[in-house]
């Protein structure tokens, strides 16, 4: 988020020539010029009508007021329809008793509308909420919820009756001091079948001592703004091991998560970077190199972000990382990393070469054209189900004061949508899509999930001091799709960490079930594949988080499938 040293002014850049991109006949045709899909903001009609409060609307004293909140897609009542959880924040002035804004849980009514069930569900907590992630940590079949805070994080256990219980204390997740929890992810890092918990921490912020804009020391293009993060003590990330009895142990140090100094962690996602069947973690750090925690298979991690080329801009400079999206955009079978950054800089696209390294393809892919926007929530999303993952970015400036700068992109900014052209390059189609993509908002978190179960992944967005958005995706291409719900039996029930290969129409695509993602948000656990014109899924291979590999053949398209661990063919494990 820093305005210090994040620009491209002194950038030394260059990228590899495009390699060949695999693909079968059904997918190698250039995409049609006409867009077959559109996005509609259905939030108001859907009943998502509670304002997200976060800091001062026109000026901010502390960075705490700038970062906004996340969104979680959670099927808390197990009805097969994704519900929505929006994290809410606060203001420095606070609120009279009983009037503070709370988080909101919206139950999906299956008819395009949602019902606010926050109070009924026992989730009406207030405070400086940040992010949310979902995971069935006790494998009882009902998804639980973790909410990060500046202050005390909260773990909510799903009682399986439509209500949640705050079990933070009994779970051993009480902080000894105020911490600024941000992105989080449930992950079974030791493959014991139980979900552990990773929480990024941003800044060790003490409002009593933190400098303010009035100090005159903190400026953005001449305007006094909130100070930091450079100059403030970075928060250290945390890893909590699930004991299996409802409690967690803080293993941050022993697992190698804690660095010598804090790194201003924000967006978090699980991924299997090296395709070894063990879950790794990627953290977008602000004003610091990003972290790529490689799982050492022994309960420890090594941060290989720098040595693997996945941490810096391509000229070796740290960027102001915010959100992160993981996906195999080039269909080479490896998980690529996309990271949103500060204004005056590009976002970063790291292509996973499969040999343990990232290739920075920001400019080679055509994404380097945009430097105006300040990106937050982001996700890979196949908008027209053509089998190529497109990119969606939520934007908005950090500082409300930038409205004084007439030539800046503004505090409220439009989204950016890049269409995957299937040849390693992307095209910015934001203007062609028009509203609501081009409607300026102070966007932050975004969760990507198929809320209406129509086979198109939609986007729920948290906006600062505004109502939330829900972008419904519709597509007239007639392309086919399949969505797979993975249910772990000996693996964690959510199957977080599972790798799925989907073969159809001569093309193989790869996906994962992931914890966290985007910016402080949780995406759909269901694995979605756009299939183009392929009329049948020839084969699905799943490598479960515990290493078991099995397959399913000849699945019908345009429908949802539940794949239960142990019910497929060819059981075995090569790990």
């Amino acid at each position: 988020m820093s305005f210090c040293g994040t620009g491209l002014r002194d950038v030394v850049v260059g990228v590899l020539a495009l390699g060949s991109i695999g693909g079968g006949t059904a997918f190698t045709q250039p995409p049609p010029a006409k867009l077959t899909f559109s996005l509609t903001n259905v939030a108001r009609a859907a009943g998502l009508d509670s304002r997200i409060v976060y800091g001062g609307a026109t000026s901010n004293k502390y960075l705490l007021e700038t970062t906004g909140t996340g969104v979680a897609a959670i099927d808390y009542d197990r009805d097969g329809w994704l519900d929505l959880f929006f994290v809410n924040g606060s203001t420095l002035e606070g609120f009279p008793p009983g009037q503070a804004p709370t988080n909101h849980l919206y139950r999906n009514r299956h008819d395009g509308t949602f019902e606010d069930v926050t109070a009924k569900a026992g989730l009406a907590a207030s405070g400086w909420g940040q992010g949310a992630c979902v995971g069935d940590y006790d494998n009882d079949g009902y998804d639980d919820l973790f909410v990060s805070y500046w202050g005390q994080n909260r773990l909510y256990h799903n009682r399986a009756d439509g209500t949640f219980e705050d079990v933070t204390r009994s779970a051993g997740l009480t902080n000894a001091r105020t911490r600024w929890g941000t992105g989080c992810a449930f992950v079974d890092y030791d493959r014991d079948g139980r979900l552990d918990l990773f929480v990024a921490n941003y800044i060790d912020l003490d409002l009593a001592t933190a400098p303010t804009p009035e100090s005159g020391l903190c400026r953005y293009k001449g305007i006094q703004v909130a100070c930091g993060p450079p100059g403030l003590t970075g928060g250290k990330n945390a890893l909590y091991h699930n004991r299996g009895n409802g409690a967690f142990d803080d293993v941050s140090d022993s697992a190698g998560i804690t660095r010598a100094k804090g790194t201003y962690g924000l967006g978090v996602s699980t991924l299997d970077f090296d395709n070894d069947g063990w879950a790794d973690l990627y953290v977008a750090n602000d004003s610091n190199p990003s972290a790529l925690y490689r799982n050492n298979h022994d309960g420890t991690f090594t941060d290989i972000g720098i040595t693997s080329g996945c941490a810096y801009s391509q000229d070796g400079k740290p960027q102001a990382g915010m959100g992160v999206a993981i996906g195999d955009y080039d269909r080479n079978g490896t998980m690529d990393i996309f990271k949103t950054n500060f204004a005056g800089d590009t976002s970063t696209l790291y292509s996973n070469s499969g040999d343990g390294f990232c290739e920075d393809r920001t400019f080679a892919s055509g994404i380097g054209i945009n430097t105006r926007w300040l990106g937050w929530g982001t996700g890979w999303i196949d908008l027209d189900n053509d089998g190529w993952l497109d990119l969606f970015l939520t934007n908005g400036h950090v500082y409300p004061e930038v409205v004084q700068l007439k030539t800046e992109a503004g505090y409220k900014q439009r989204k950016v949508v890049y269409r995957n052209l299937g040849n390693g390059r992307f095209s910015d189609i934001s203007e062609r899509l028009g509203e609501p993509v081009t409607t300026p908002k102070a966007g932050r978190g975004a969760a990507f999930a198929d809320f209406d179960n129509d086979g198109h992944v939609d986007v729920a967005i948290s906006n600062v001091n505004d109502l939330p958005d829900l972008f419904r995706v519709t597509d007239a291409s007639g392309h086919h799709w399949t969505t797979l719900t993975l249910v772990g039996t000996t693996s964690n029930r959510n199957a977080i960490g599972a790798r799925v290969r989907c073969a159809s129409g001569g093309v193989v695509q790869s996906q994962e079930v992931r914890g966290g993602g985007s910016y402080l948000s949780q995406n759909d656990f269901r694995v979605h594949f756009g299939l183009g014109d392929a009329a049948r899924v020839e084969r699905v291979d799943v490598r479960w988080p515990n290493g078991l590999e099995e397959s399913w053949e000849s699945l019908p398209v345009d429908t949802f499938h539940v794949l239960k661990e142990g019910s497929g063919r060819g059981q075995g494990s090569n790990r």
Binding site: R9, G14, R219, I306, T307, D315, G316, K317, I369, T407
Partner: protein, 271 residues
């Protein structure tokens, strides 16, 4: 005066604390007051209180017309409080160019660009070129802003315009190399960067970019050579060490790569 001592001890906060009442107490025409006002203005400037610094600095400016330090501080304060006309006039005094001239707009543009006020800088530089289309450096600075904004074609054209005025502009050639690198035109990038180095072999930038270009074209020995030369000229260059580490890793020299990564990480931690 204790406040002046604090200023010289690089403690502007205490200088302000002591000088503010002092200024009010001293006789308006006294030499002591003049000094106090000047130091108070500079202390506010150093403390980042830009708007507050301006009245004090303006008060003493007519009394010390040749003080370029004071004119510079005023220019910076005006620029950062987005008063471009006054900033330009102050920078004109700082650099002894005629107010309102093409040179004054150029200097203002350069300073504003340095402050990352690209919008103001762009306006100044365009005005400079309207006044003098063959003014050296203006196209280059505009080109820099265009590259920063990822408007690469425009940046390339502007760098070429600069070279038309000054064919020995090594930095313009370097920026052209940068643009071609971004466009994956490695041969063109290498040619421009070599030209840049033939004119000025003492700047590390082109060596770094050449190192990158050679590594991307799989000429690892040449890449290593260029990056080591960059480090020779600029031992603490983070990018050079980072890219060298990548080249060494690419060449399978893992231990050497680790050493360079460690240096790059240490340097990046020292920002």
């Amino acid at each position: 005066m204790l406040g002046v001592a604090y200023y010289h001890a690089n403690d502007p906060a205490h200088a302000i604390e002591h000088l503010t009442p002092t200024v009010q107490r001293l006789a308006h025409s006294s030499l002591e007051r003049r000094e106090a006002v000047q130091v108070l203005g500079l202390s506010h400037y150093l403390a980042g209180h830009l708007a507050e610094s301006i009245p004090y600095l303006e008060e003493v400016r007519p009394l010390v017309p040749d003080d370029i330090k004071l004119a510079y501080a005023l220019g910076m304060a005006y620029a950062q409080t987005r008063q471009p006309d006054k900033a330009r006039d102050s920078f004109a005094l700082t650099f002894h160019v005629a107010p309102g001239s093409a040179a004054a707009h150029l200097i203002a543009g350069q300073m504003m660009n340095r402050l990352e006020l690209e919008d103001l800088a762009e306006t100044e530089l365009k005005t400079a070129l309207q006044k003098d289309p063959r003014l050296p450096e203006a196209h280059y600075l505009l080109g820099q802003i265009a590259i920063f904004r990822s408007r690469l074609d425009e940046g390339l054209a502007l760098m070429r315009d600069e070279l038309a005025i000054n064919p020995a502009h090594a930095m313009a050639l370097y920026r052209i190399g940068d643009i071609y690198s971004r466009q994956l035109k490695w041969d063109a990038a290498i040619a421009a960067l070599q030209q840049s180095l033939w004119i000025n072999p003492y700047f590390s930038g082109p060596y770094i970019l050449l190192g990158k270009a050679y590594s991307k074209t799989n000429q690892l020995e040449a890449a290593e050579d260029m990056l080591r030369r960059a480090i020779q000229y600029d031992p603490n260059n983070k990018s050079a060490h980072y890219l060298l580490a990548q080249v060494l890793q690419q060449a399978g020299r893992t231990e050497d790569a680790k050493r360079e990564f460690a240096i790059a990480e240490r340097l990046l931690g020292e920002k």
